[in-house]
């Protein structure tokens, strides 16, 4: 663990303010120039707050990354579906669009819905909606013309 209390800071400001130093609270620091040389010290401070208060779950971070990966995937699917339409693209688009929408609306709900019960209900409703959406799109792909063909047909008129 990198040293949180630096000798230089003590020398500059005296000893008494040591007690006021927020070594136990993970406040965002205005990054002084010296930190650019030692970025790991700042990182150590952030990790410290997780170690301080128990569980350090990476779930949220992984979810964030997964959202970006899916977005890039969906971006690539557009041109591929245009040049190579077919059932594979139909089902891939159905899955990617539904999941992207599910996660997106999930973020909207997180922003605007407050209160434990309301959050639970809203997320349950969203899950139901996304399930029905995916089911409907798969049904359309199987029993009807499919997403790629449908867009082509819509635009041909």
């Amino acid at each position: 663990m990198a040293a949180i209390v630096r000798l230089s800071s003590v020398c500059r400001r005296g000893v008494k303010p040591l007690f006021y130093q927020s070594t136990f609270l993970a406040r965002p620091l205005a990054v002084p120039h010296t930190y650019k040389e030692h970025p790991y010290q700042l990182t150590a401070k952030i990790h410290a707050s997780q170690a301080l208060c128990g569980s350090g779950s990476k779930a949220a971070s992984l979810h964030w990354t997964a959202e970006r990966v899916l977005s890039i995937l969906l971006l690539a699917m557009g041109p591929v579906a245009y040049f190579n339409p077919g059932p594979f693209m139909d089902y891939s688009l159905a899955a990617a669009l539904t999941l992207h929408g599910h996660w997106g609306i999930g973020q909207v709900l997180t922003d605007y819905v407050h209160g434990d019960a309301k959050i639970k209900m809203a997320n349950a409703g969203l899950f139901l909606l996304s399930t029905v959406t995916f089911a409907g799109l798969c049904y359309f792909n199987y029993n009807d013309v499919g997403i790629c063909k449908a867009v082509a047909m819509l635009w041909s008129k």
Partner: protein, 183 residues
């Protein structure tokens, strides 16, 4: 005099070291005691989430009015683009869900409904407008999405860059939508 301060500094270093060691072992310490002898560490203190909930509960209980925000803050292009990104996202998602629901519930198949719409004699201009109306949310959300991903890798945060990329997204969206509407 200086030796006293030095000794004091050593003790406080030791004390902070003890605090951090105990903290590393899982004890939550929210504020150090103002004595040299550190008594005991126990998990205490509330999480940020609990504090936030307490804050909201108190406000709701006292029926405190909310300060004006959206109605008084000056709207800027980045603000408008951000909420438009959210709006188009929610709108597109809703449209897809509605389409999926219709596919499950309505009788008949897609070509049937397409012919039904065309038999309404809408006319080329309205068809073009409808196509633009579908294409614009898709292209805006896509281009602004790319801008978001650009931010996610840490680029383009300077204010002039934000505005430049923003105007580029708007221009590209309009051009793409018009071009696609003519297809």
């Amino acid at each position: 005099m200086s030796s006293f301060f030095f000794f004091f500094f050593l003790i406080s270093c030791l004390f902070i070291f003890v605090c951090r060691t105990l903290a590393r072992q899982g004890a939550c310490v929210s504020r150090p005691q103002y004595t040299v002898l550190f008594r005991h560490a126990a998990p205490m203190g509330t999480t940020a989430k609990e504090e936030m909930n307490k804050f909201w509960a108190k406000n709701a209980k006292l029926n405190r009015p909310m300060s004006p925000h959206l109605t008084i803050y000056k709207w800027s292009v980045p603000m408008m683009m951000s909420i438009t990104h959210r709006g188009t996202g929610v709108g597109l998602s809703g449209a897809i869900s509605a389409f999926a629901l219709a596919a499950l519930v309505l009788p008949g198949n897609y070509p049937y409904y397409l012919d039904l719409i065309h038999s309404l004699y809408i006319g080329p201009y309205l068809i073009g407008l409808a196509k633009f109306g579908i294409a614009f949310p898709v292209s805006y959300h896509t281009y602004n999405g790319i801008r978001h991903l650009w931010w996610d890798i840490g680029k383009g945060f300077k204010i002039p860059e934000v505005y430049r990329t923003g105007y580029t997204v708007i221009a590209l969206s309009v051009i793409t939508s018009i071009a696609v509407a003519f297809l």
